[in-house]
Amino acid sequence: MSVKKYWEGIVEAQAYEMERDPTIFVAGEDVQMGGLWATERGLFARFGPERVRNTPVAESAILGLGVGAALLGMRPIVEIMFADFMAVCLDQAVNQAAKIKYMLGGEARLPLVVLTHQGAGRSMAAQHSQSLEAWFCHVPGLKVVMPATPYDAKGLMHAAIRDDNPVVYITNKRLLGLRAEVPDEAYAIPLGQASVCREGTDVTVVATGAMVKEALDAATELAQRGVEVEVVDPRTLSPLDSETIVQSVRKTGRVVVAQEAVMFSGFGAEIAAQIADLAFDYLDAPVKRVGAPFCPVPFSPPLEQAWLPDKTQIVARIAELVPVGAASVQG
């Protein structure tokens, strides 16, 4: 066990898997210098140019490289620098990676990891700040993971590499520097397994990505105000661990679904619909959601801050569901 940053766990998992399987290679823009987001730091020095490949700025070629190599039995990890750029190569993800196995009648394996990075809050403007996980979750044939903690980042990268399907592994830029105690040895978190990060009795918050920390912060504040919040992090969005989510809602009877992505037509809507279907008899109040407003991410800092959901909105939604005591004098 040692304190590691979120990005360090991602590197450790890749290095461990690359050490034991020579068919694993990393490819993307600037991965040799460690990647823009440090998620490949040190891999080039350790594994060299045959295993860590800089590619041209050509997202369809990068993703296609991964698809073709995976089809022939290698286990590529390809990086798309910003999730926004997945729009550039969406065909290779949606029409190719996701569908080749099915169209071939089940023949073919595609053990591919697509590593990409989401999130606003760093003044990078509309085309470098989006959260687009809903797009990938909507496509049968892809799996989607979105780790929120350093522990999950490492464990889900192990799992993503070992899975024999295309896995879209999505970080949030604001989480990359998060530190926590993480095991030094390899461990794989099963895909499709949610985590109850905090137990509570009064309301459930189902949070993803950067909103998990916001939910935990909201829970800490609300504990002072007489409300015990249970926080559930799906960790894998597709396939979704509906069972754990529903169990929590059956316990608390009230739920807020929180995402950084634009609220309208986001992945939270899927979670909310499943809860309404599977836990209806246990709900004491409507299912509430937190998400960003329906506009592109603005550049100007006060505007971007107004756009970005945080614990304030989570607390506000919870206050619509349960009586919340006055804030304590100490705050």
Binding site: T23, A61, G64, V67, G68, L71, N95, Q96, R162, D164
Partner: protein, 325 residues
Amino acid sequence: MELSSSAQVEMYRLMVRIREFDERAVLLSEQARIPGPVHLCIGQEAVAVGVCFTLNRDDCIAPANRAHGYHLAKGAQMDRMMAELYGKVTGYNKGRGGSMHVAAMGLGNLGPNGILGAGAPIAVGAAYACRYYGRGQVVVAMLGDAAAAEGTIHEAMNLAGLWKLPVIFLCENNLYGEFMPLAMHSSIEDISDRAAGYNMPGVKVDGMDVLAVHEAMSAAVARARRGYGPTLLEVKTYRFYDHVGRDYGVSKRPEEEVAYWRARDPIKQLRTLLVERGAFDDAEADRILEEAHAEVEAAVEFAEQSPYPDPSTLLEGVYTEGARA
């Protein structure tokens, strides 16, 4: 490399089989016994045959959507192909793919693509793996003159030329992109002129001459196997029927143009040549045609008798189960 007489006769047989398959398939499609559209390669048989005769079983192809000829040329059985076009569970893809996607990984066919140009980046990835395995395998990415306009082709060619990967970009220039003539969709007449822009040789060849296709492709394959990297091989060819089916009824090509190319029918050309050379005679050629007919009819029978997939299997084959430890 000069092909033996018997090999040339085999090429002839394969072209005839491809044509007879497609001629029958389109009739079945018009009768709605085959659901959905079929994209015929009638007139272009010399390309599939000339190309695939240079390939081993473990060389890979990433065809475009006019791909029946390639699958047969790669060794596919007609009955399982026909069953796939019918959507039957006995088809190569268990009925999940149909005409546009009929393939078999075991024959080195990575699957034809309904998205034009999308196979090229995948072929580059497959070539990357081939080089890693070091067994001298090559990959062929097919594209038409139309697909040459897709951005993915340029990304793929740039990367292949940069990394010198064992991939051949095979452009079947049949002078039409869907219903648009070449001059309406291409900034240049010879797609192979683009090759130098991607650090690879560009070659043009008469796509109606199966021996010429074979020769040009052999050189490209040899290059790739020896580690010298990709080639853009442009075959000038022509489809005798419409973009989809026999006559979509929307856009007609000039009659003189169609007649010009039909007069250069690759099957007739090779038959004349082989008879002249004494490789076979007309009786043998006729026998080959009869056998092809019989094979097609048997395939239709097999397809008609085969069951459809059970709807209870709908969700199978989306994901590979399990993960490695």
